[in-house]
Symmetry: D2
Subunit: 286 residues, 4 copies
């Protein structure tokens, strides 16, 4: 696809553009490192978050995820701890030396969330909120742009283009499954999109197999598939007590399951393109 | 579906709840009136808007649509006249006595748009922006809530529930097509959802056959189908020069095509549940 | 769409081709007549079929449907009465003067079914069985070609082209809903496809709102929408005891519901393009 | 999922059932071997088939694919060499010692194709032709059952159940992509289904990344992902001159690309569950 014909001039891969490598808190996304994010779907309590954060850190993972403001289909479901959730994330970050990624649901919440997060997550439901994307182009923190569950690959790259055009070139794409007729699993995790994005764009891309499947027992297999297809990283939901989680328990790994997966990924990554950084490998082996 | 089992307590139809009838500027939506909205996809210029508004008024239509802030897939496409567009809508409203409906793309734009519109439109891409929906629950103007192109009927009614729960009970649903594998037409206009919403909910529902098909030549047939299935109204894109429109020209009716459709709908509605109000019928006959 | 560019040369509408009108047993499909087919999903017993056939006849409907060989998702579900079902259809036809339409599931069953049916139905699951379609092109009976639940409009017209190219020009299309992410209803009945087919092709098209929705309570509304959009006819499932039906009871109308719908369609059709034939109207009024 | 509640009693995994391992011509599918099938989409000529078969053999692949009867969306496209194609497959098999897999499009063609093939392929378009599936249950050759492009995992396993119930327990599932709104690639290859099938069923499952993506440049990455997720094998389209192929050239690997992929898979499989058999490894190393 020639540069002049692509609708996403800045996001497209061209001979004269280098692969984008986002660097944040000693981690890189888009280079040789297999980047890892793990944590609960939502921040629920200090005890929950710290127990998970400790295990995430001990498994060698550099970044903690956790929702403080949660987009929920029903207004009667848990909506997140909001500002208290942000505060807890910050504490966990300070305690364990973890980077933080959390979602900003709306432009009006950006100023509130900004100081608490290292990477700003744009959720699937907001990928087509173009006014918001334009404003994110003016920020100076990396943006993790989840794919809309109804977005084509072109629409996704055009959403990235909105941010790039605003002046922020630290965009990380995140495949998290699309909505199809088959609802055997919560979403259809589209790994073909990862292979295609690697061809079309210089932007790094990570995969969320937890949202992408909704089912704990297949998260490990899909994590490996994502690494094998060439993803730059993974974002995985883990919980200290998945069956009691206030949101998305069925798709969260237990801490033990997660540790086991990290070991398996370390082995797999010896024959694929991206490796865990040495600090991660040391902690996995410990 | 019993009240206690529905996830949308306020939006659901129950024996003790009356059908919601939204009244705005002498029009009703949800009662016996077949409610009509027409106008351009986007406000492009004073001349364009006034020519269309004049024709819309002359055809007996009480409400003018027109986007001032446009959600566009590509940042390189026309993004709307923004504040100038709002000003023009107000002028057209004053000149022709038309009600105004226009989209608010984001909560941060609500205060700006609020004074210019009679009905606040929430676009398909924002139907799952729950933070925004909560804020809309605090406003005192009717909300036209377009269905997300990836939203199930339940998710749509739950989005309405967010607004209702906030205290605003003037919610009008708008079916505008869903995204499916078949892209022969731009979207798949799901009229079954209209029949289903009439069973599940007391909220009024209108249909947008322009977005719902993307193709001018089938808008008339689908408008009639929407009336036959029981919709409370229609929202139709018309343009004085569709082939030069800055957005969505292919789905816009010419002014002549629109006048002809209004006459046909007047005939059809004599045997269906909703009728044009008498003022509309007089103007159609004139 | 110019003739030379269409992939379906025989199925496409061109200035020099007339609308196809299929004539079978005093009924026409594709002309001015609103053509009706009604009957059970499956033939279950003599008593069931005759009770339904009597009511269908009394409502003025010229054609009886009923499956003798049923394509069922599970091998443990009722598979049809097979040859005995065909024999009962023939008896009911003789008794009530009704035309018969029934499905042929596979080429190997064609010779068996052929003598018992006036119109050969190709089911949704077989629309892409091209070997079978070629063989149907050699038969001399009208073919009702249901749309595949995963077929685009182009693919559907190309399936018709296989039959036309074989020499059988009596092809009737049948929209029966497509499979989408929204499973609030069993299928998404795509009435936009009917409007589009009317533009692209000279072939007649009928609508099956029973399969198309899977829900009795919306079949009436969708029948009216189908007539309003311009369909040439309807195929509707009715049952003498829907709640005990061996297949698809939830989408079958009771005999009373069906009679009521026929009266409503007679009224609606006074302002739409197709009318019931006078014999039908007489029986509805009786 | 408990045995008694599953709708597919024979296809479901239960504590007392062993994993099905299909053995055919010295190869096993479902055990420790990573099973490989490669070849052209369609048999086009003796020269084409032998050149490809020679390369497939030289790469250590035990089975040759190639369509003799081709299901094509348009009747104007190449429909296959039919009986001559079968004869050529047999010759290639004899010359190179390759097993053969080819599609049977319809029950009426089964007797013709049977003697020429080692594994009978049921195409995506025929997965719901239940009459045909019943008849396949009576044969004594392994069946490769492609997933319908509109089939849920449950429907797919129920289609397998039809064959198993007929008495043929040699069923191999094949994931080949589903049809979704995103048509950036030809299909959406659903690797989540592979992980899910491994949980639900004891049947072996292979992946077709060629049909599954329609795009040569991503076939390699998706092949690796399929192996990482746990598939029992791969079916890959290769062509001696992909740009001149009579069908599906864009998704076919060149012979060089295929050889390179085999080497990469050999490396990857050292850390995943299935390995190439030693003969394959020897030929890859040669």
């Amino acid at each position: 696809m020639a540069e002049l014909n692509t609708p996403y001039r800045l996001a497209s891969k061209t001979p004269d553009k280098q692969q984008t490598v986002v660097t944040v808190r000693n981690s890189t996304i888009g280079g040789n490192e297999l980047f890892m994010i793990a944590g609960p779907c939502a921040v629920e309590s200090e005890r929950q978050l710290f127990e998970i954060a400790g295990a995430v850190h001990a498994a060698g993972v550099p970044f903690l995820r956790g929702g403080a403001f949660k987009p929920r289909t029903s207004p009667y479901n848990f909506q997140g701890l909001e500002k208290e959730g942000l505060r807890l994330l910050k504490q966990a970050s300070d305690t364990y030396g973890l980077g933080i990624i959390t979602e900003v649901m709306d432009f009006s919440l950006l100023d509130l969330v900004y100081p608490y997060t290292d990477i700003i997550q744009v959720g699937s439901r907001n990928m087509k909120n173009y006014h918001f994307l334009k404003e994110l182009g003016k920020t100076d923190k990396p943006i993790l742009l989840k794919r809309g569950m109804d977005a084509t690959v072109d629409e996704w790259l055009l959403a990235a283009e909105y941010i790039l055009l605003g002046g922020n070139d630290q965009v990380i794409l995140c495949e998290r499954g699309i909505r199809t007729f088959d609802q055997s699993l919560r979403n259809t995790l589209d790994l073909g999109s990862v292979a295609l994005v690697k061809e079309l764009s210089h932007l790094p891309i990570v995969v969320d197999p937890s949202q992408g499947t909704g089912k704990r027992s297949v998260v490990g297999a899909m994590s490996k598939a994502a690494v094998a297809v060439g993803a730059d990283g993974l974002m995985i939901e883990v919980h200290n007590d998945p069956d009691s989680a206030l949101s998305d328990g069925p798709q969260s790994l237990s801490l033990d399951q997660f540790r086991k997966l990290m070991k398996e990924l370390a082995v797999l990554s010896t024959v694929t393109g991206k490796r865990f950084k040495s600090k991660t490998l040391e902690m996995i082996d410990a």
